[in-house]
């Protein structure tokens, strides 16, 4: 691992009771990169992120975060990392300013008052500085949470579903901010369920039930999914059933009136999909598989453990 590596883990594993929640994950994130972290609910994203910032102890595996050992140097990691929790976890009964001020104190900021004020201004929180955090709306809570983990100018940001429940324009703004940060050399690991956000990341990792099953940039992920997709315009429910029964088709996804027909075997699809379409008086066109098609395919292929 070199200077240009922010996160480097090998075989990272976490079990709760005897259930393996994160299973021997290898991951490398470069400095200044925006790394997207995807996977279905309960796939271990939050658990993985918590191990990175010393909130959970891995059962096996090792790694470094900003050059510090995950287990032995958790204290050093905490000083340089900003972690935004999935669930809002600042203090509801403190005001916006008091929350930021408290967090600033915990990081021992030398010029705390000024830093808090700058932060309030930068994130548009100045008008709400004296409002209790518990009374903010969801989107404003997210903004406050992001502001609070940027206060101490961390080198690495771990953001766990930072935009869940945030409106589209606020989300766009949020991502503009993430790219600005990345441009200044901050590394970001962002977990998300949104495709448009995934596409905004430099690189991606896909976690399914504890296993890292694909990683790389969007193109790599689609290649790793190994799928071919055809689109069919104007397919109704009956047509959908027909396509589901067509040989080689593994999954279907509707986008408005457009149906995406996906399968692993390109040759099989090429022979059968146009046939089914012709029979139904519809037109089928091959397209380049989208990231979403790839993810849906990956998710369905991943074997879901018995209990979850």
């Amino acid at each position: 691992m070199s200077h240009s590596t922010a996160i480097h883990v090998r075989g990272l594993t976490k079990r709760f009771a005897d259930r393996t929640v994160v299973n021997a994950v290898d991951l490398t994130v470069n400095r200044g990169e925006i790394y997207g972290f995807l996977g279905p609910n309960g796939s271990g994203k939050t658990t993985f992120i918590r191990m990175l910032c010393g909130l959970l102890t891995p059962d096996s595996g090792s790694g470094t975060c900003l050059g510090h050992d995950l287990v032995r140097e958790a204290a050093a990691i905490k000083r340089k990392v900003g972690y935004m929790t999935q669930r809002f976890s600042l203090w509801d009964d403190l005001s916006v300013r008091e929350n930021l001020d408290f967090v600033g104190r915990m990081y021992g900021l030398s010029d705390r008052r000024a830093a808090v004020q700058t932060c309030l201004n930068t994130y548009g929180l100045a008008d709400r500085a004296d409002q209790l955090a518990g009374t903010l709306s969801g989107g404003w809570k997210q903004r406050l949470a992001l502001a609070s983990c940027l206060l101490h100018r961390p080198d690495l940001l771990l953001l766990d579903e930072p935009t869940a429940g945030v409106d589209p324009s606020a989300r766009r703004e949020f991502w503009e901010e993430l790219h600005r940060l990345s441009a200044t050399g901050v590394t970001l690991l962002v977990s998300t369920h949104y495709m448009d956000e995934a596409e905004r990341c430099h690189r991606l990792a896909y976690l399914a039930y504890g296993d890292l099953i694909a990683h790389g940039d969007a193109r790599d992920i689609i290649a790793q999914a190994g799928i071919t997709t055809w689109t069919v315009r104007g397919a109704d429910a009956a047509a959908r059933a027909e396509f589901a029964a067509t040989p080689g088709v593994t999954d279907l996804a509707s986008f408005g009136t457009v149906l995406h027909v996906t399968g692993r075997d390109a040759a099989l699809l090429a022979t059968h999909v146009p046939k089914t379409a012709a029979r139904l008086n519809l037109e089928a066109t091959p397209i380049e598989a989208s990231l979403e098609d790839a993810f849906i395919h990956l998710m369905q292929r991943a074997t879901r453990p018995a209990q979850s």
Binding site: C53, L55, A74, K78, S89, D93, L94, F102, G108
Partner: protein
């Protein structure tokens, strides 16, 4: 371990702000001690009357009869009947009577000859407040007029004609009324301090804010001590309220040094808060913290000498009691408040509290969860 005063004060201030916004808790902090004090305080002041009494008359002479008549006329004693000695013990055991008054054989003769015969009062001292007044009431009985007609030799100048002896059963030490205020001081501090800090950490855990706190560089000792500080102030406020009310409403004397008293109180508060913090890092949620608090609270009340006299307990109970800070605190406060003891005499009861605190702090720091595992 590096300790940052910066973070320590940050945590203390945050706790204080949160406490200030929590009106209910704040009300309880002031309400509970005062309510308790007035409840107990007025229980002290109430004057008992018509206490069931049995008489054993080994000498049914006129003198004894005169006494019994006087007892019947008093409001304090309620003479249930004249019984023999065996029955009297049973009545006392069963709690049917509070007192058994025995007139010995030859009572009349000895009285007339000025030999000061003994009247024995056996008292059920489980309710100690009644015993003290029994003696006073007994000596004030208007028997002299009844005895005036009898030819008798006065023993010596001024000495009463009879010798009244009180034998306390079941509670030979007798907890005096004054002991209630020192006792309440300890009990209220134990209850509110352990409970409030017990909830302090589990609340963070339940609300999810613990994750945020853990993600910052704050160390366990900073978090624990920082959270304790505001409650020290609250404890001192409670103590002052109780002392003021005790002094001006219930006339409890303050003989010893106030500075020493507050020093001892401070130590006790610190020990109790440390325990609360440790319980709260052991507990998974607020309910568990509450249960642990009561698990600690019960022996503290029962075995510390607050409820039952310490020396009357079996050895194992005394041993348990000697570990609890409340046991020593009660002795310390009684010593300072009522007897004016200095710290040298009290040292044997100071160090056990310090040891308790250190051990508990050690356990607390060891079990403080640095992770969410």
């Amino acid at each position: 371990m590096n300790f940052s005063w910066h973070r320590f004060w940050g945590i203390a201030e945050k706790e204080l702000i949160q406490l200030r916004r929590d009106r209910l808790t704040l009300g309880m902090i002031i309400g509970i001690p005062l309510a308790q004090l007035f409840l107990f305080g007025y229980a002290i002041n109430s004057e008992p009357k018509h206490l069931p009494t049995a008489i054993v008359m080994a000498d049914p002479g006129p003198a004894a009869r005169a006494y019994v008549q006087a007892l019947r006329a008093s409001e304090y004693f309620d003479v249930k009947g004249i019984v023999d000695e065996r029955d009297s013990t049973r009545l006392l055991d069963r709690g049917d009577v509070q007192f058994v008054v025995t007139f010995p054989a030859g009572f009349h003769r000895d009285l007339v000859r000025g030999r000061r015969p003994t009247i024995l009062i056996e008292a059920d001292a489980t309710d100690p407040m009644t015993v003290g007044s029994a003696l006073a009431v007994f000596s004030g009985l208007p028997v002299s007029e009844m005895l005036r007609d009898m030819p008798m030799t006065t023993p010596s100048e001024g000495a009463p004609p009879v010798d009244v002896r009180v034998q306390r059963r079941y509670n030979p030490e007798v907890v005096s009324a004054y002991n209630i205020v020192p006792g309440l001081l300890g009990v209220i501090l134990t209850m509110t301090m352990v409970l409030m800090t017990g909830l302090a950490m589990t609340r963070e855990r339940e609300r999810g804010t613990f994750e945020q706190l853990l993600a910052t560089p704050a160390t366990p000792i900073e978090v624990m001590t920082g959270k304790i500080v505001p409650y020290i102030g609250i404890g001192l406020l409670q103590v002052t309220l109780i002392l003021l009310a005790g002094r001006f409403v219930f006339d409890v004397p303050i003989v010893g040094s106030l500075a020493l008293l507050y020093a001892v109180v401070l130590l006790f508060i610190a020990a109790t808060l440390t325990l609360g913090m440790t319980l709260s890092s052991l507990a998974r949620n607020q309910l568990q913290a509450m249960q642990m608090t009561f698990f600690y609270f019960l022996p503290s009340i029962l075995l510390s000498g607050f409820m039952f006299p310490y020396r009357g307990m079996p050895p194992w109970a005394q041993w348990v009691g000697s570990v609890l800070p409340l046991t020593h605190f009660l002795i310390l406060v009684r010593g300072i408040l009522l007897k004016g003891a200095d710290w040298v005499t009290l040292w044997p009861h100071i160090w056990p509290i310090i040891v308790f605190m250190m051990v508990v702090l050690g356990i607390g720091l060891k079990t403080y969860r640095r992770t969410l595992d």
